[in-house]
Amino acid sequence: MNQLNNGFTIFLSLLVEAMPFLLLGVLFSSLLLFFVDERKLVKVMPRNPLLGALFGSMMGVFFPVCECGNVPVARRFLTQGVPTSVAVGFLLAAPTINPIVIWSTWAAFGRDQPEIVVLRVVFSLLIATIVGFVFSFQKDLTPIVQPAIARYLKFNPAKGEAKGRSFRAGNTLLKSGTYFLGGKAGSSQIIDANAMQETMTASVSNKPLADKLGLLLENIVYELRELGAVMILGSAIAAAVQVLAPRDWIISLGSGPVSSITVMLVLAAVVSICSTVDSFFALSFASTFTSGSLLAFLVFGPMIDIKGVGLMLSIFKPKAIFYLFALAGLITFLLTLFLNLHVI
């Protein structure tokens, strides 16, 4: 009974602490969806692969989106002729490199282990840039992206001029600004071009403000509900592990430099908790797991998600997603292992 009570208190405390940050993340990403015209950004993107990857990784500062928001934005970037390195860099780093996530990480770790906050940002940037750079060597995107995007790029040579009216009038198969993907999770390749999504394309600016606000509210409620529910499941897992898992077992797993990282990488993949609140999840392991492993969770978690795979299938073929995850996961493993072994 006591255990159950403790578990429930931990569960609630995680939720109450995380709720403001979730709300803030949702508000921000929704506002940006509707009021920022990213085409201006597209224009200034560097074409150099390495610089591009770095630029893409840092763009999260302007697009504070969490894992669900970044995929559609990255997808649109690709169709607007943004270099692959930029899009991949953005895809991997945007959920971490943004003010709200950094703040919530600070709330969780800033007092005790400020280095986790700094290293989370540094490692995420590093990994996203490296992976983005690697992907830039694939000049022909056809083998790695979904046929719809490949076809689109073929008919709309990616030279950055795919913007403005000509773009909107273009291929109806793929609306560049589609944020909401049709169908159910996992089968999201097909874009449901309905009236509402039309209004959510980059041309949203010609809609009356009242309609925009209506859509904004719709989006806030949708994200709050879906991400909130994931957060509840994540907190329940964290609380259950704290209370139920045998302590010796957790300590022996959590203190090993390799085993702790491995466990946390697996958790990162399984628990698809939103990046704005995942630091609170990690926090509940702070006393038993190595700093490196906590960092592995915080860096890799936003990059890979079970739910993210469904979304990512709307851009990439499975093979490319596998490479993306494998590469990101391995670099995370190496960097955090170095940290655990005090190499860096």
Binding site: V16, E17, P20, L23, A108, A185, V221, I232, K307
Partner: protein, 258 residues
């Protein structure tokens, strides 16, 4: 009509969202005003929770208004978002959790949890890594004004127990009876929280009882006055409070230290 209207449950589902969101807004406010929030999170974040609660309520209210208006206009009918859960599950989960939050009151952690993390850890604890330099200044105030946490922090900086011998102590905490400690001692402990209850960890100092002292049950909150001595407990020299007086106090509104 040849075309069937899209599924009727759609009419109720948006209301589930409104209900779930509003319930969370109310729950957060309820925790704040019933002071239960102190059991859950660092007091530092309470204003943030209040603001969020108000914002969440506003979202719920606006959404409700939107649904009512739309029913008349019925324009934006078929929006297909990418759902992580089947329709209705997300809202139901949020609502259920909020209701549970109303029914089951969060409890501060007890001595049992502290014992779970090992007495040795409590001694050594307030792990050296967790001690922040900026706290030292606060810890250097006169001995009898130090809180239990201040004492533990000071001890982390100058670990020699003898250097505190004879200093006056006046601290609050709850009682723990670890078996390792023996009959004439108990552990006066507190949980320290840096962010929320999920990262609470116990700290504590042993208290030496005089023979005629009443024995309090575990988890009793006490105000202990006395002076510092060095005792050998479980084979280790340990800074110990030799109690002159024990006063039973009620559990503080905010059971954690920071």
């Amino acid at each position: 009509m040849a075309n069937q209207k899209p599924k009727p449950p759609n009419r109720l589902l948006p209301w589930l969202d409104v209900l779930a969101i509003t319930a969370w807004g109310i729950l957060l406010l309820y925790y704040t005003f019933s002071a239960k929030i102190y059991i859950l999170i660092h007091e530092h974040y309470i204003p943030l929770v209040v603001i969020s609660a108000i914002a969440i309520l506003a979202v719920g209210f606006l959404k409700g208004r939107q649904i009512l208006r739309r029913r008349r206009g019925d324009n934006l009918a078929t929006v297909q978002h990418l759902m992580i859960f089947p329709p209705g599950w997300g809202g139901a989960l949020l609502l259920t959790t909020a209701i549970l939050g109303f029914i089951i009151s969060p409890q501060p952690f007890s001595s049992q949890k502290a014992l779970g993390s090992g007495v040795n850890e409590i001694f050594v604890s307030s792990r050296v890594t967790r001690v922040k330099p900026q706290e030292f200044r606060r810890a250097s105030v006169s001995p009898e004004k130090r809180s239990l946490v201040d004492w533990v922090r000071t001890l982390n900086v100058y670990p020699e127990p003898d250097s505190y011998t004879g200093q006056k102590v006046n601290v609050q905490g709850f009682t723990i009876y670890p078996t390792e400690l023996g009959q004439e001692y108990f552990l006066l402990a507190r949980f320290v929280v840096t962010c929320c209850a999920a990262d609470a960890y116990p700290i504590g100092l042993p208290v030496k009882l005089k023979e005629n002292f009443e024995k309090f049950p575990p988890d009793t909150w006490l105000q202990v006055e006395g002076q510092m001595v060095t005792e050998t407990i479980a084979g280790k020299r340990q800074l110990t409070i030799a109690a002159d007086s024990l006063k039973k106090i009620s559990q503080p509104k905010n059971p954690y230290s920071y």
